[in-house]
């Protein structure tokens, strides 16, 4: 698929956590492969058909989002594999892993194969399906995990529908061991969550909305860690939000259990006070938490207790979001704002840049067992160029996703994806640079 094209990315700051490399240099891509990384000026322009000047830019491995909802098949009015992956590359992502809660659910090898086939025909980036753990996400019968893995599924999850039966969760973890994949847990006790619409706190009290207590997350995190100790299956926690859940995860990691965890940009950047205006773009599952939890989450991302950043990109149409707060669907889109939103933590000095890149590249690559998220010579040329200082505002007209349910609309950011290269080809580049 890679023709004779060649690209020279000149003079950028090349940051690659897979090799620990962080220095200014030139990066040469030939035939879809990263063929050389040298000190600035070492590679003559004549070696490449196209030269991309990158001074002042960061040159990163193509970013990987291990948690998105592409809505196809079945809910194409919200998103499609085509539109969701175009949103991905415009946000700097070259690989995404899509959750199984489509219609039909991705719980058989046939649906997995369909998603892979649609991706091959229509996707703008790499797509790795995540297979359902249980048939129909009902938590009652184990899904055909072996068959889905054979068709290209890279992890197993009933994301959105926590498996409340501990015996069932244990069997899913046991069974998944045969295939070496991680089981991704959406850790919320759904009985305790009940109709909870926002974090249970003074805010839920004063706003008159039902609360979702932090305990709901802590309980399932603690249970799944106990099951991990029992089964030794790889376990990954989606979108962790609470300080006490993080304590459980730290202890599990210290004990050597194969546990990893992710945080979503919105949980790292926003807190529960945002819901005061009843804007449904601040409604998600798990909900935005208090300041103390947000601080704990940032610290955990810094110290590695949170391994990776994943967007939980969850497109919804107007019919799901432009409704009463308690009636509104959970979730927001995130692919196009993740880089800019989380870069704020780097600019503020709350997160070392290498740790930030790692959380968007090598760590999700390890979770999914895919050979991407690296700039090592010889690897596929997935590269993301970022202007860390560009000031920009995300406007509704610029949103590539089919849905616009983002709390970051019209917000000013510092730092922007300027180009995304997939397999050595430019998959996305902004039309003009500078403020707007």
């Amino acid at each position: 698929m890679s023709e004779n094209s060649s690209l020279l990315i000149k003079g950028g700051r090349i940051i690659d956590p897979s090799s620990g490399h962080d220095a200014f240099g030139d990066l040469l891509i030939e035939g879809g492969i990263i063929s050389a990384i040298e000190k600035p000026g070492q590679i003559p322009d004549s070696r490449a058909k196209k030269v991309i000047p990158a001074s002042g830019k960061w040159v990163l491995p193509g970013l990987i989002d291990a948690h998105v909802h592409l809505r196809e098949p079945g809910m194409e009015y919200k998103e499609t594999i085509a539109s969701g992956t175009r949103a991905a590359v415009s946000g700097g992502f070259t690989s995404v892993a899509c959750m199984a809660n489509t219609q039909p659910v991705n719980d058989t090898p046939y649906v997995t194969a369909f998603i892979r086939e649609r991706a091959k025909q229509t996707a703008a980036c790499r797509v790795f399906p995540i297979g359902a753990a249980s048939k129909g996400l009902k938590g009652e019968e184990i899904a055909e995990i072996g068959g889905m893995i054979a068709e290209g599924a890279r992890a197993i999850s009933d994301d959105g529908m926590p498996i409340m039966n501990s015996y069932m969760m244990r069997k899913v973890m046991d069974y998944s061991k045969a295939f070496g994949v991680a089981v991704i847990s959406h850790a919320e006790d759904s009985f305790l969550v009940g109709q909870g619409a926002i974090n249970e706190s003074a805010y839920s009290n004063s706003l008159g909305l039902r609360g979702n207590p932090a305990a709901a997350e802590e309980i399932l995190v603690a249970r799944d860690i106990a099951l991990c100790r029992l089964t030794r299956c790889r376990l990954h926690f989606a979108h962790i939000t609470t300080e006490l859940a993080l304590e459980h995860i730290r202890r599990a990691k210290d004990a050597g259990l194969p546990v990893t965890a992710e945080a979503s940009p919105h949980h790292l950047l926003l807190s529960e006070e945002a819901v005061v205006g009843y804007d449904t773009n601040f409604k998600m599952s798990p909900p935005l938490r208090g300041e103390k939890d947000v601080a704990a989450l940032r610290k955990a991302l810094r110290d590695g207790s949170i391994d990776l950043i994943a967007t939980d990109h969850a497109p919804h149409g107007v019919i799901e979001k432009a409704v009463e707060f308690d009636q509104a669907a959970n979730g927001i889109i995130g692919l196009e704002t993740a880089v800019a939103a989380t870069l704020k933590l780097v600019h503020e000095g709350a997160l070392p840049v290498m740790r930030w890149v790692e959380s968007l590249t090598t760590r999700p690559a390890q979770l999914l067992g895919i050979p991407y998220g690296t700039l090592k010579v010889g690897s596929a040329a997935d590269v993301t160029l970022i202007d860390p200082d560009q000031i920009w505002t995300i406007l509704e007209k610029d949103i590539v996703s089919k849905s616009q349910n983002t709390p970051f609309l019209n917000q000013k950011f510092k730092g922007r994806v300027v180009a995304t290269i997939l397999d050595g080809k430019i998959a996305y580049a902004i039309e003009q640079e500078g403020d707007r």
Binding site: E140, E141, I142, E144, G146, M168, K171, D174, A178, T231
Partner: protein, 323 residues
């Protein structure tokens, strides 16, 4: 006599010497049974088959073994029992005991039932399968069949494939094979392996491809649909695709490797029909050897005084059926 056995409850209780004696005795019976002889070690004795769980072939095999030894059988099955009227296991057994039988062959869905009966009763008890615990005569007949084909199991690699966690057949085989010096590995979906397979003292793998090239014996176990919980395997189709002995997968085996199955086979699930009926399959030999092993066990517990003589006759025999 330390080498004789009073009951046969578990293969785990048997010494290597006891196992060897039972195998030798069974081997000695082989040519005589083939010739149609009755070996009258159970003349005038009655064996009760006390079956609290469905079984066809095991019960028939014990009946045939009793007949070939000149004894008579009484059959009891749960559907015709007084258990539904509230009688306890021990009461039922004592009532039957009052009729004067000489041996009790017990099958029960609850692990430990034969053990409990052996403590309470004055006659020998033979376990014909208790829950997920043991099925010692099956383990013995399997090893008899392996040795018939391979000479000895010592140093041989035996791979048991399937639902190990819920298999009394696997447990009995593992105990016997280890005592005789075989190297054992188990394989199956992790949901159907014991939580820590290493506690069985065997190797394990989740995928058969890792074990097949070195195997001398493959024992495919029945996927127990009746016990199958939908939280353990997603479908029979996925099981057979990943863990079934298909024709393709059988090509990974050494040319001389043999395939056993305790029956009844789910054709196309654990074994492809071509494999079940192919030259490696020794399934029908297992059934014949089952009669011989049950003869050896019944004779050993009911007529221990006559065993030494029988072993001498065995040694003077011109070998087993297949020589």
């Amino acid at each position: 006599m330390a080498d004789s056995i009073k009951h046969l409850i578990a293969a785990a209780d048997l010494t290597e010497k006891q196992i060897r004696r039972l195998l030798d005795l069974a081997r000695g019976f082989g040519p005589r049974v083939t010739r149609g002889e009755i070996i009258p070690l159970l003349q005038g004795k009655t064996v009760v088959n006390l079956f609290f769980e469905n079984s066809t072939r095991t019960r028939l095999s014990f009946e045939q073994a009793t007949r070939k030894l000149g004894g008579t059988t009484m059959n009891f099955s749960a559907s015709t029992s007084s258990l539904s009227k509230g009688e306890t296991l021990i009461d039922t057994a004592k009532n039957i005991l009052a009729m004067g039988p000489h041996c009790l062959v017990v099958r029960h869905a609850s692990a430990g039932s034969p053990h409990i009966l052996s403590k309470e009763l004055t006659i020998p008890v033979v376990n014909a399968g208790d829950g997920f615990h043991e099925h010692p005569t099956q383990g013995l007949l399997d090893v008899l069949t392996m040795e018939e084909k391979l000479g000895t199991v010592k140093g041989k690699r035996v791979v048991i494939l399937g639902d190990i966690a819920h298999s009394r057949v696997a447990r009995s085989n593992i105990h016997i094979l280890k005592k005789l010096g075989a190297s054992v590995a188990v394989c199956g979906p992790p949901t159907l392996l014991p939580p820590r397979p290493e506690i069985l003292g065997v190797d394990f793998a989740f995928r058969p491809e890792e074990l097949l090239p070195d195997a001398d014996v493959i024992m495919a176990l029945r996927i127990q649909m009746e016990r199958q919980n939908r939280m353990q395997i997603p479908s029979v189709a996925e099981y057979s695709k990943i863990w079934g002995m298909s024709r393709e997968r059988a090509k990974l085996l050494k040319p001389e490797a043999i395939i056993l199955h305790p029956g009844p086979i789910n054709r196309g699930v654990e074994l492809d029909p071509e494999v079940a009926d192919g030259p490696r399959s020794v399934i029908l030999d297992q059934v014949f050897n089952g009669v011989l092993i049950r003869m050896a066990v019944l004779a050993s517990v009911c007529a221990p005084e006559k065993i030494e003589e029988q072993l001498k006759i065995s040694q003077s025999q011109p070998g087993g059926r297949h020589v």
